[in-house]
């Protein structure tokens, strides 16, 4: 079935006048009478259905990956624990990393919420290529199943670490179906990501509403545009590397094997040429989410809109020149080049942190769960970011490489992203479902998650500086190592409990629904102009778009016009002064 979609031409959402804030208004205008139930799930090309599919699947993957983490941390409570065998431990940390990176953080960000939000934020009826979008989801789902299938084959899943370094991945060192399933899973999810990237860029370039110039797009959409470009630059490289790896394992090529003239180090170059831009592919969407949330709960426009955009573009530009900082200790990379580029990338990231703080500065802060999660993201990302600057310095990296310091740095970053993910869920859940999540449960979840994260990561930095290597199932009976490891495990447990609280919150919110209304937060973007959840093809009307927050402008016609970076009290005071 194909529908010809016309753009809405009115700017009145209903007959009730301009304000649609908190009115509990539920519109079923334009509802689509298509298939329902399983058939709807199988055949829908609606970006909202696909976005929710992605979001739910990725959260399920987070729970699975988190369960692996809990087993890992249980093993490390005691130096000589025998909870799992050494090989099972290798499998667990491989699958924990793989599931979390390939199947949770990335797909949640660049395919889950992005799928749902980008068309809404630019005023489009759908993604540019809806059927390609649906194919992306099916490739992601089947890729996820392929990865998890490893647990059900003889020999178990892949056990060579989520980075799959050669020669650990060779047919001799990693025989069996588990390694091939890992490769196949990444091929499927890799193509899924590439198709999502194409869709994001085409949607943003071609389907924006009239007046929605590039520099009026919400920062989340800007970040998704840049993420889409980075996906197209990085993911084909990984997919090509995986095909080469498969050929090495099965067709007798020697691309990554010394026998026959191959170069194992080439895998690291290929992997990290994908892998470091991937860090920004993971991070930029969450940067975008908190940049949407902080202004709303500070009651101010974003501080430094253009600075945010240029910082994002600079991060994208630099991100392709930092890959070998993961390879400093190989002794075979250009240390000054990669060190300089890696240190430089701290500048645009610092600008973002500065602008988030600048947005909150002098604002009327409202500490909703979404805002708490966003602030938790900023604080935790700061810790992860600063320790990343240490690691960009080769002498410091030589000392800490492959220790728990690196693990702690990385987990500060990804746990910050997880807080960003929950900030996004709490903020946009009302739009997706028409119901509010419970704030009390949400705040309890936030504090457990935030405290758990710090209790988990901070001892990791210390035990890393004490010299504990990563990927050890057992470790020397050193009391200080054991104590620090036990604290880490307590932190991991708190994080696990916080996830359960989220599940409880979703159940409670469905059992005792609180109707959200179209715009419960008095927010800024076009997604808040339509009903919650939006009708098929999204909009029956659109407001005039004259700034980066058209819905706020529409709902506050008497508010003074604010330039980028001006906060409300100062502008209001200036307006009063002029009148006087």
């Amino acid at each position: 079935m194909t529908d010809l979609i016309e753009r809405p031409t009115t700017s009145t959402p209903d007959e009730g006048g301009p304000s649609n804030v908190d009115d509990g208004h539920h519109s079923d205008h334009g509802d689509h009478h298509g298939p329902s139930g399983l058939l709807k799930w199988l055949t829908s090309t609606d970006h909202k259905v696909i976005g929710i599919n992605y979001t739910v699947t990725s959260i399920v993957m987070m729970v699975i990956g988190g369960a692996f983490a809990e087993v890992i941390r249980a093993q490390l409570v005691s130096p000589t624990s025998t909870l799992v065998t050494l090989q099972q431990y290798n499998q667990l940390f491989t699958m924990h990393g793989s599931v979390m990176i390939y199947l949770f953080v990335g797909p949640f960000a660049f395919a889950g919420l992005a799928n749902y939000l980008v068309p809404l934020q630019v005023g489009a009826p759908d993604m540019a290529f809806p059927r390609l979008n649906a194919l992306s989801y099916w490739l992601y789902l089947t890729g996820s199943l392929t990865m998890v299938l490893g647990f059900f084959v003889s020999g178990g899943p892949a056990a060579f670490g989520w980075v799959g370094y050669a020669p650990l991945t060779s047919a001799i060192n990693a025989p069996g179906a588990g390694a091939d399933l890992w490769i196949g899973a990444l091929m499927l999810t890799g193509f899924s990501a590439i198709f999502s990237g194409v869709n994001l860029i085409a949607t943003i370039f071609y389907l924006r509403a009239p007046g929605m110039t590039l520099f009026r797009m919400p920062i989340f959409t800007w970040n998704m545009l840049v993420t889409g470009i980075l996906i197209l630059l990085a993911f084909p490289v990984l997919t090509a590397g995986l095909i080469m790896l498969y050929c090495d394992r099965h067709f007798g090529t020697h691309i990554f094997e010394v026998q026959g003239g191959g170069v194992p180090l080439l895998w690291q170059h290929i992997f990290w040429f994908w892998g470091h831009p991937e860090v920004y592919i993971l991070a930029l969407p969450f940067f975008g989410m908190v940049t949407e949330i902080i202004p709303v709960f500070s009651k101010k426009p974003i501080f430094g809109y253009k600075g945010m955009v240029f910082a994002t573009l600079t991060i994208a530009a630099l991100s392709l020149g930092v890959w070998a900082h993961h390879m400093f200790t190989t002794g075979a990379v250009l240390l000054p080049f990669f060190s300089i580029m890696s240190l430089l990338i701290a500048v645009p990231t610092g600008i973002k942190l500065f602008n988030w703080i600048g947005t909150m500065w002098g604002g009327k802060l409202q500490f909703s769960t979404a805002m708490l999660m966003a602030i938790g993201f900023v604080a935790t990302f700061l810790i992860g970011g600063i320790t990343g600057i240490y690691l960009a310095s080769p002498p410091l990296d030589f000392f800490t490489h492959d220790t728990y310091f690196v693990i702690a740095h990385f987990h500060s970053v990804v746990m910050a992203l997880t807080m960003g993910a929950f900030a996004g869920i709490y903020f946009w859940f009302p739009k997706m479902t028409g119901k509010m999540l419970h704030e009390g449960w949400g705040k309890a979840q936030f504090w457990l998650l935030f405290i758990g994260t710090q209790v988990f990561t901070l001892p990791g930095y210390l035990v890393g500086l004490h010299g504990m290597p990563r990927r050890m199932a057992v470790y020397p009976n050193n009391p200080s190592w054991q104590t620090l490891n036990q604290w880490e495990s307590v932190g991991a447990l708190l994080i696990g409990i916080s996830t359960l609280l989220f599940v409880v919150n979703v159940i409670v919110s469905y059992r005792k629904p609180i109707v959200a209304g179209d715009n419960p937060w008095d927010a800024n973007g076009l997604e808040w102009f339509t009903s919650s959840p939006p009708p098929h093809h999204n909009f029956t009307s659109l407001p005039p778009i004259r700034s980066e927050r058209p819905v706020w402008d529409y709902n506050h016609p008497d508010a003074p016009a604010l330039g980028h970076g001006h906060h409300e009290p100062a502008a209001a005071a200036a307006a009063e002064k002029v009148e006087a």
Binding site: T2, P130, W138, A177, F337
Partner: protein, 132 residues
């Protein structure tokens, strides 16, 4: 039309080219140099296309004009499929082909069959819609 979009891609392409040149002559490492060359083209090719398209069209899309009203964009946006089974069929075909890489080539037979049927089905579906 598409002026800023093309500038973003061209800027990224030129930056990758510059970075690639420095890396190539300083690093003497082929893999990274080749990948940065690829990145240069990935910026320049679409960037140049969009720039050419902008010059040709004159830059008058309502979404590029800051003073455009919603009514300026009135009319059909495009044809959008409302439902389609073929992405699912194609996805299952790809799944089967990947499993064939692991468990045996016989799995490629249903995989390729599903992929071909999806290609035919999706094309026919587009033609029936009459708009794509």
């Amino acid at each position: 039309m598409l002026k800023q979009e093309s500038i973003i891609l061209l800027f990224l392409g030129f930056f990758f080219g510059m970075m690639g040149a420095v890396y190539w002559f300083w690093g003497h490492e082929d893999g990274g140099g080749v990948m940065l060359l690829g990145a240069l083209f990935l910026g320049l090719l679409p960037g140049t296309y969009y720039f050419w398209w902008f010059r040709r069209s004159g830059g008058n899309r309502p979404e590029d004009r800051s003073d455009a009203s919603i009514a300026d964009g009135a009319g059909v946006v495009d044809a959008f499929p409302s439902t389609s089974i073929w992405p699912f069929v194609l996805g299952m075909g790809c799944f089967s082909v990947v499993l064939a890489l692991v468990f045996g080539t016989w799995l490629a037979v249903p995989g390729v069959a599903l992929i071909l049927s999806a290609l035919i089905g999706a094309t026919a579906e587009s033609r029936r819609g009459g708009t794509v």
